[in-house]
Symmetry: C2
Subunit: 288 residues, 2 copies
């Protein structure tokens, strides 16, 4: 896994929970980022004692009130003191409300979207999928934002011209399949040069066309994205979520994910995520 950027810092909103602090410690040990724990310091001290954890590795901001802890963590990101925001032991809606506050939040005028990253020996490079978690039935304009959010993030990883596959159930526009028609229009918009700059967009593509040379060869598909996609764009949250869960739980690919579209990435890992997945998510938030 890549190391964090120099001086990267992650502000953790409501950090006083063992699973949050363990992930933060791991990220610190691996040199990914300075972790700023915002939350109830007394509680943190007790947890550190129980886990035999050295709190001096962290920067700590004492704020026992969870709502205020969220606000403080967000404002540290707004001010540039931290480079990304991480949800701690608090529900997603509370931390997102603070993050999206019109005056003090991290809004950047774009739709928020989730991007997941996967590493598996069965694909020749890191594979990203979006949106698997936030936008339920994205319309055309939301899909443009989702794609642009992902492309900007990958460019920050050093992938200059990410290859974007617009996923459907087949590789040609079909009047009976609205998804394929939307992707046809998306490719036209991309070709016009107005939106989705600095990337290569193609679709509709079935997933096999996006990732497999054999599939492209046998079906005679000659796509600039074929068999070499960086970003898989799902048509709906169901398709995206099933892809995400298939790669994580059946393919057993290493994975992480962050929320894009705000001024800085937001890490929304949950208790259920593996330690590895939490770490990868923190690293991505720093790198994007």
């Amino acid at each position: 896994m890549a190391r964090g950027k120099e001086n990267a810092a992650v502000a953790v909103a409501v950090a006083a929970a063992p699973y949050v602090m363990s992930a933060a410690l791991e990220a610190t040990k691996m040199g990914i980022a300075t972790m700023i724990l915002v939350g109830d310091e007394a509680k943190m001290k007790n947890i550190a004692k129980d886990l035999d954890m050295d709190l001096s590795k962290f920067k700590i901001v004492d704020e026992p009130d969870p709502l205020l802890a969220c606000k403080k963590a967000v404002s540290m990101v707004s001010s540039g003191e931290a480079s990304s925001l991480m949800k701690g032991d608090i529900d997603t809606s509370t931390v997102m409300r603070a993050a999206l506050d019109k005056e003090t939040g991290l809004r950047a005028g774009k739709k928020l979207s989730h991007i997941a990253a996967f590493e598996t020996p069965n694909y020749h490079k890191m594979l990203f999928a979006t949106d698997c978690a936030i936008n339920i039935a994205p319309d055309f304009d939301t899909h443009v934002d989702i794609i642009e959010n992902a492309v900007a993030a990958l460019q920050n990883l050093g992938i200059e011209k990410p290859k974007v596959a617009l996923m459907a159930a087949k590789e040609v526009v079909d009047d009976k399949m609205p998804v394929t028609q939307e992707w046809g229009k998306m490719v036209e918009l991309h070709k016009s040069g107005e939106r989705m700059k600095g990337c290569i967009v193609d679709g509709p593509l079935a997933l096999d066309n996006a990732v497999s040379e054999d599939a492209c060869r046998i079906k005679g598909i000659n796509s600039p994205v074929g068999a070499d996609a960086d970003i898989l764009v799902a048509p709906t949250i169901e398709a995206g979520n099933i892809l995400y869960k298939c790669l994580s739980f059946i393919t057993k690919a290493k994975n992480g994910g962050v929320v894009l579209g705000a001024k800085r990435p937001i890490v929304l890992t949950s208790r259920a995520d593996t330690a590895e997945s939490k770490l990868i998510s923190i690293a991505l938030s720093v790198l994007f």
Copy 2:
């Protein structure tokens, strides 16, 4: 892989093509079924010569006209002479038109649906997914047929009470997610005992809940289908197709698929399928 049933026979519509005959030969060698090759016998003889193939392993029905070959193969299945139908070197729509002919075809009053089977070391048993290929945006009634088709097929495999997971992006009914609402109603219909008998249906479930004990434990999900699903039901063709392609091309699970809902299963393997996938599909058509 399971052996075929005794006296099983597969009628291949328009068989005179090397890739079709190779798959048929393999199925014969493995004792899966008697393969009845319907098509241009002269052409078959030439191909057999080129490939050094022994035609005496097959039953051959000489019919050079492709349309008539489709009809003959279908009528052999109708009459019980063959137990399933396989598409040969002909486009899907042509063979399906013959299969669905109102007078001589294989209609059984149900919607047709596709079922795919997967075997991977990452899941503790065979995993089935439906519908990944035929119904584009199935409505409620079509989904009932899709589920019943799959359940009947698995019962024929000896799985007495298949566990059916209705897949969505989350595991609770959510007003903002129409898919979860449909699955909520589906579970109610199942509980009423009127439809989808002889199986256990639960949903909405995210894919991780359907296949992973860890996911169920951590999220506190107590579902009769949780972590042990036999059949994954996709909400749309996009979600199903992406799952199918992910399992086949990224997870690299062994896979096959057939069309259900007609009087007998129909094998629609394409040139692009691997030899193994074609074989599994033929075997499933015999076993279902």
